[in-house]
């Protein structure tokens, strides 16, 4: 089976084969020796790739993995031939209507909403100020667009991933 793994915008193609009872691991057609073991019960793994050891921590969320290799974090998506085909077939139906939901990256207190409904905003523009851990954190627009409805107001306490406002992307 072929697998397509996207790690931080880069795609890798893997092939897991079994020949004469021996497992083969190919990365972009190149064979490699991989030894992989879990350490204890937590999602901690020790990986030996061509003799080089790596410590791995993994979290999975919404079909993505967040993988820390030797303490460095990477966002990874794993697909196989079948799931990729399925995705290609359903593409279009899935894609958003151009409405982007701005969510709170952490729980906290809304200090200020810096945009009004209908306002045109630029990618990177600060929209909401949230206080947490004695600091004010500016939540920025991920896209160019126009502000739709605003879900929070000043002084409100919010949870992580709470929707702050909508942006109609352009």
């Amino acid at each position: 089976m072929k697998y397509f793994v996207t790690s931080e915008e880069k795609e890798y193609t893997f092939d897991l084969k079994e020949e004469n009872g021996e497992k083969k691991f190919l990365l972009n057609e190149k064979p490699m020796t991989v030894d992989f073991k879990q350490v204890g019960k937590k999602p901690v793994y020790s990986l030996l790739v061509d003799g080089k050891p790596y410590d791995v921590w993994a979290e999975s969320q919404n079909g993505h993995y967040t993988v820390a290799v030797n303490g460095q974090f990477y966002r990874v998506k794993v697909e196989n031939e079948r799931s990729r085909l399925l995705k290609q077939l359903t593409r279009g139906a899935e894609s958003a209507e151009g409405v982007v939901l701005l969510k709170a990256p952490m729980p906290g207190l809304v200090v200020r909403v810096k945009a009004e409904k209908g306002a045109r905003v630029k990618k990177g523009q600060g929209l909401v100020l949230i206080e947490a851990m004695k600091m004010e954190n500016e939540i920025k627009s991920p896209v160019n667009g126009v502000i739709g409805s605003i879900a929070v107001k000043q002084g409100e306490a919010i949870d992580k991933n709470a929707v702050l406002l909508e942006i109609n992307a352009e």
């Binding site: 793994v5 793994y45 999975s60 303490g71 906290g108 004695k134």
Partner: protein, 499 residues
């Protein structure tokens, strides 16, 4: 000698103070808010008492309750740590009025240094260079504009009662002056209840260098050398070191003497820090005095061999300083990296939650001052500092290499931290060669933390294997559960489709 100290703080600094006390045979009383029942400081102290709800305004800032707890527990002294009530002159006075020893400077010294314009005047009188600007708060706007023009733009408007960047405004040209003054005033008013503002020359990306001082009850004041604190994010220090590569022995001596004069000028006692800004031409200016123990005090401890918490306890007990200025020697090089619960890849956003995995580094030259452990909860109610990693090396190169090695070894999972950022700083060429100023982080890390290791390919391999393992165990679990009415083949197919 003090024999029982209430520590009016939490986190790593409360733990640090407990450790110092314990080594001197002094008992400790911890106080804890509702969310800190299982925190390390609560569990390591000799006694621990609850003081209220999670928000610090309902616990760590409630002066009455802290003093009452100290009296109830039979403490004879209060150590404020840093933050919270540490630089509150009124609290210091109340502690002493209650018959307890305040492990810190006299209330008057705290108040004097808390008012930035009064402090500037006092420093000027004591011959300590201050940043050019007004010595009094602005009263007349027209006058102020004239002053600003004399100093030369860009200038900085600062709140007299200030701190933490609030009520502060950079003004680049004449036209911006009046509106900036109004915003600065209204910000200062809302932040400190005091709208007084003054003008300083704006130094572009200076270096931030501070001197540690110790002063006893008998008028002896010494300094313990400098700390270089120019590596900052959001105007907050994140990497500190001692000595600074910038200072010549002559400059060190001159600045150290100025620091001692500054402390003397305000009748200082106990440990304190004089912060200086150093401009491109190596002119140094008094910035402010921190009238407490600093977060970054360990780098001074590592290079001088002097335990600052113990010195604080001795001074507060009325014991004369055990060192003269000539006996203070800086040996080797020390670096501290602060480990914050923030995501450096996402603009240092706070990251709270449970620490699910912890494997700190070890070996020669590594010290960690930490308030966390595996399974500890990092709450959003308090400052995001988790731990401080400190290294000592025989010279700066060894210290930098050692810190990089230690950060590479560090494993902390469950929340995001500034560990990868600290590593990126250690691997940065300009940091390694000493070419940096307070603009370093903005200049070098415009796009967040650089990935110094580039292991995305390994991450891909790992994710694939974990994903395959999970699918296999789902097939097994599913097969076990449904084995009576579904064929394994069907189950396998279903799992594949679920993906």
């Amino acid at each position: 000698m003090i024999h029982n100290v209430l520590i009016a703080n939490r986190g790593e600094i409360a733990v640090r103070i407990i450790r110092g006390c314990r080594e001197m045979g002094i008992r400790t009383v911890a106080v804890y808010s509702e969310v800190d029942r299982l925190s390390l400081h609560t569990r390591l102290a000799d006694e621990a008492y609850p003081i209220g709800k999670a928000p610090s305004s309902e616990s760590y800032l409630v002066q009455d309750r802290i003093i009452a707890t100290a009296l109830k527990a039979g403490a004879d002294a209060v150590h404020p740590g840093y933050g919270f009530l540490a630089e509150n002159g009124d609290f210091a006075a109340r502690v002493e009025k209650a018959g307890l020893i305040w492990i810190g400077p006299p209330a008057e010294a705290i108040r004097l240094m808390g008012d930035k314009t009064v402090a500037r005047q006092r420093m000027k009188e004591a011959g300590v260079p201050t940043v050019p600007g007004t010595l009094e708060p602005i009263s007349d706007e027209a006058e102020a504009l004239k002053t600003a023009e004399e100093i030369g733009f860009p200038v900085l408007l600062k709140a007299a009662a200030g701190g933490g960047g609030k009520g502060m405004r950079v003004v680049s040209k004449r036209e911006e002056f009046q509106p900036a003054l109004q915003t600065a005033r209204s910000e200062a008013k809302s932040a400190f209840g005091d709208d007084r503002v003054y003008i300083e020359k704006y130094l572009e990306n200076p270096r931030h260098i501070e001197f540690q001082i110790l002063a006893d009850k008998f008028g002896h004041v010494i300094h313990l050398g400098e700390r270089e604190c120019s590596i900052q994010r959001r105007h907050q220090k994140i990497v500190e070191e001692s000595p600074s590569v910038l200072l010549t022995p002559e400059m060190r001596q001159a600045m150290g003497e100025a620091a001692v004069r500054a402390a003397q000028a305000c009748g200082y006692r106990n440990a304190g820090t004089i912060e200086f800004l150093v401009d491109k031409n190596l002119n140094y200016y008094f910035l402010e005095m921190n009238t407490r123990l600093q977060v970054e005090h360990p780098v001074t401890e590592e290079t001088t061999g002097i335990d600052l918490v113990k010195e604080q306890l001795k001074i507060a007990s009325g014991i004369p300083l055990g060192y003269s200025q000539e006996e203070i020697r800086q040996t080797g090089h020390a670096i501290e990296v602060r480990i914050y619960a923030e995501d450096p890849a996402n603009n240092f956003m706070p990251s709270a939650g449970k620490i699910q995995y912890l494997r700190p580094p070890g070996g020669p030259g590594i010290r960690e001052d930490s308030g966390i452990f595996e399974d500890s909860e990092v709450s959003l109610y308090y400052d995001s500092i988790l731990s401080k990693l400190i290294v000592w090396g025989k010279d700066r190169n060894e210290a930098v290499a050692r810190m990089a090695r230690a950060l590479e070894e560090y494993r902390l999972f469950g929340i995001r931290t500034t560990i990868p950022f600290g590593l990126a700083v250690m691997k940065n060429k300009n940091f390694q060669t000493g070419h940096f100023d307070t603009g370093f982080v903005e200049k070098e890390f415009r796009n967040g933390s650089a990935d110094v290791k580039n292991l995305s390919q390994i991450a891909a391999i790992a994710a694939l294997l974990i994903d395959r393992q999970k699918a296999a165990s789902e097939i097994r679990a599913s097969a076990n559960h449904h084995h009576k009415w579904e064929s394994p083949w069907k189950t396998a197919g279903r799992v594949e489709n679920m993906r």
